[in-house]
Symmetry: D3
Subunit: 245 residues, 6 copies
């Protein structure tokens, strides 16, 4: 399979996967809005309707997710796997996700991190997306043959909560300090109005991003964890680092 770098005018879309209707927004909404404002298309695949949550009906949750995605400049679809709180690592799920990868043909893919000491749906979805990114490249699964193989550029993991950050792994940090970015991200999180605990969640995320920002010498920053080493043509591509103290 040929691996050509997308050269500008039309960057390959960003595709983000979430286990629940609000995971993407809370975990990496600021990154998404930053990318869409720079002209990259973004699409969300949400793998449950939050039907096991403490608050909000599935219909409400879906409506909130649509509103929230729109605030970030993204489109959204819902995929039924095993249901909220019930996700298992099944080959059939990975194949379904691989089909979506072949259909959307993203450059960047975002998925929840693999740390197991978090909501079990998160880590399992992360595993499934990683497997799917491999299956999408390989030739022969019969469920995939209708669509041409696709190799993504990079898979990044986001952490829905601080506990979900892989300990010891070095993240890349996306600077989301611009007021319009913070505003759009906050609005997207607040769009999940049914969530009683959301208030704390919003503060949790903004506090995390502020702490990352303080450490990096910027206002706010969001950490992503690359699945594979980055390949660079030049060090000029990465000339800022996060060390202030």
């Amino acid at each position: 399979m040929k691996r050509t770098r997308k050269s500008s005018p039309e960057p390959a879309p960003l595709l983000a996967f979430g286990a629940h209707p609000d995971d993407i927004e809370f975990g990496c909404g600021g990154v998404v809005t930053r990318e869409t404002r720079a002209g990259r298309a973004a699409h969300f695949v949400v793998c449950s309707r939050g039907e096991a949550g403490s608050h909000g009906t599935p219909a409400q949750r879906v409506a909130e997710a649509k509103k929230s995605a729109a605030l970030l400049g993204a489109t959204v679809e819902f995929l039924k796997l095993d249901g909220d709180g019930r996700l298992e690592v099944r080959a059939a799920h990975a194949i379904k996700l691989a089909r979506i990868l072949r259909r959307v043909r993203p450059g960047i893919v975002l998925a929840p991190s693999l740390e197991e000491n978090q909501h079990p749906d998160h880590a399992r979805l992360g595993q499934l997306v990683r497997d799917a990114a491999r299956l999408a490249r390989y030739g022969g699964l019969k469920e995939l043959r209708a669509l041409p193989a696709h190799a993504i550029d990079q898979l990044f993991f986001y952490a829905v909560t601080p506990e979900a950050e892989p300990p010891g792994a070095m993240p890349i940090l996306i600077d989301v300090s611009a007021p319009e970015i913070i505003a759009a991200w906050t609005a997207a999180m607040e769009a999940h109005a049914s969530q009683a605990q959301t208030r704390d969640y919003v503060e949790l995320q903004l506090t995390r991003a502020r702490l990352r920002g303080l450490r990096a010498g910027v206002g706010h920053a969001i950490a992503l964890f690359p699945n594979d080493p980055l390949v660079l043509d030049s060090l000029a591509q990465v000339n800022r680092s996060a060390r202030r103290f």
Copy 2:
């Protein structure tokens, strides 16, 4: 201290530190030539004259290092610390290196990796450079006051041998596949003619780079290990990853 990103015409220089006259070339020569060909100035600081080596007089070693640096487009200076095979972690050394950082004012700094199971001078120099990068930013050491404080953009570690790669750390990979890059790098390594073992060393380095390249789907690649998280404005900066199999 203000932290401004260098915007193009004149990129901040690259500064590489080596414990012995051939360490930089063997460990990351391909990266240096790639950067100098793209218009970035490069300067080497070599912290011994190889006087404990099995072959070659100090004078020969210095001459070879100068020739080799020139082949990579870099300038070189020699710094006396404790001598070859005798380097210790002393605060006075870190302060000396910090002075050089304030004088050269680099963006990118390259230093040998911190793994202790390699030639002891390598890991100790890596530690000293990391400490120096901090001291160069701080205000008050009297030995440093004559020169204005300087914050580098990023410190990357290179591994002189495979054993020196930090296990479990995710590197960034620099694509050095272009024939002129490989040729310049090979010539620079071969310029260290006095070294009886050099023949194997050259094969070792090219085999390493080829293996990294095969894994990344390019010809050859060199791994660098960032000391701190990279801060990005956009994911468009890092849109290739190293996964081919």
Copy 3:
């Protein structure tokens, strides 16, 4: 269960498991040929027919695997689990593998490594083999009762690709430098002719083995990762180590 060390004339057979028809050959074929040439029987269990590969029909893949195994001096059987690209970690699979362990009664077992960031079938098969090695020792599962319990001597993991090597784990290295070993191994890899990508794969494996060899001061070497500590009667058994630089 008594644990007696095999004393020479008839060493207990080696049993290798692969998820796809070419995994064993690419990951550790040189080790297998070295052992069979020293008089140890070797048997392969291949857990799919490669039916999801980009190239080659299942019938071709099976024929190639048989030819390849013969070149390494091994016999081969095929086991149907969930199919290529669909393997899941199921207790029923581990029990099937445990039955094979009780039937073949190997000393050494080789299985793909457990790193999850590789083809998902590989890591899952590795897990299943490890579980099976335990179940084969225990008394009571009814599917196993027809065959006497069996305790293997050691389980070693092989890495199909460099990404599959467990980071930070210290391998043992098998010296495969002898020309006839390299020739047999290369022939076995090339026997998988249907695989369009094979050319690169062969170079990948030989480059890996050469790099390991250069580091160890031999021609070529293959890394295996023991599942449990080795027990030795004397340090005379392990009197070479891999440090050349």
Copy 4:
């Protein structure tokens, strides 16, 4: 430098380094006696006279160490570095140790482990020995030139206490179950009679060895941690592993 494997009649000697007069005996005395009984010469280098201990004069400690070494079939010498409780990582020390390596020309070297959360002299001596093993191979340090370069076969670390075992590293286990081995080891530990705390220490070491033995299905075993991968000609060399439960 040529690297020839010792072929039987006269195995290269074992050289063990200890920071205090009883470290070698407590940490790996059972291994030493096993090797000397198999016909390998053993020599101890003790790098202080225990002059900072709570009990026993330096003269007593030296006498006890000599008696203890003799019980294990080893010779012993004392080397003055910085003194008990005062050891620092200095290049001059590593060079002194390298001279001893060139003089004794051992195959196997034993040194205290590198974990820092133990008596500070232990970890520092471990580092110095590792560095010395490198310097002994290299050509040119003027303090070393009088003696020909020497490459050891393997460096193993022993842990004086359980806290000193490197977490996560896989050891090799030496079976020391034979009654005469246990008896000689115990006698050697008890020869350090001045040590008030010795009673507990002896129980500590025998309990450790019994626990390792129970896990491995033998009577008693001692763990050693290799500094570099083992290189094997055949898997027949390592056909027992430590898994009983």
Copy 5:
């Protein structure tokens, strides 16, 4: 959900999960008896009847487990999941365990550790219990709605064998030195009389506890591994540490 600390008279019960009838006793029986003697209720959930063991019928195993639990002052119930040697990580299992958590409403929960290189049922049960502790707190799974949500205070992992201890993780140690604690624990282990291998198992556990005790300066100690950081009001709560050598 409100999180109130239990203030004395009636401490919240301890709930321990085991995959086989003797796992809790062997892994952490001394801890349980210590807690019950201090007035805390304890309940065991055993997730198979040991029907795949080498010795003992399911009926015998159940009888032994009941006797053993009584010796430790605990009650016991049996839960059928997939059966001995067949446990899989299924969402339905975690939901069943979450129901038990809502019913028993424990403060402390004990579960087998997550290390995969042990009996596969152990690690999988550990994962299921961790997931269940989360699901028990969340509002909405329909199978759970009949019982009010419950947040446990802390989940601790116990290791059935030394291999099951997570390498590199710092445990907390429970002092079980009192003669009546050791006696009750030993009796509880010996109550599993059908187990041919039990004799060794008892010695294994007492040797482990003695080694932990020797290291900590007490008689015997058992290690537990907390799933989440402990939250303290004051350092006065934790004023002993385990360092004797």
Copy 6:
């Protein structure tokens, strides 16, 4: 040496070490004030006068440190080692610190963490304190003989910045949510008025503590990292854990 647990009325003092005049306050001031308000004496040993800082004269720094310590209810002394920015790991320093330990005879000791990627003085002081805690227990160093041996209860590391937190280690969290604790801590940090960068530092620390608090379900919390396992008499001592999301 006898190891008796302090039973209430008069808890053993807390002793905290800092490399610079403001390190203790910024890294763990909230913990100190919590302990002193509960009746425990606290003493600070500051190992430089901040003479290499960008702002503030040594005299100002000393005055600020005294004021700040008083606000936390602690006394303070200054110890001259190598000077600010110049600290080295020397045995003589560890012996000096051990003397202070024997003089103050603390239960709890706080020291900067050992992560090397922070200000070099921090990690080195942490190492020296750990070594000193050992030397204070041992009998014989002549510089120490005038004072009776002393075994501390526990050594905890604090992290001056987030970068200094040991990755992957599980901390204990001290709840510092009470308004009077936050107020005293904030005042103590602000007492270091000469520090131009202090403003950000105060926000950094409060943001860190708020993020820890949000995760733990309390207002604010500070993480400490124990050097050795905690030994408990009962799980009732540790009945809260930090998991809220």
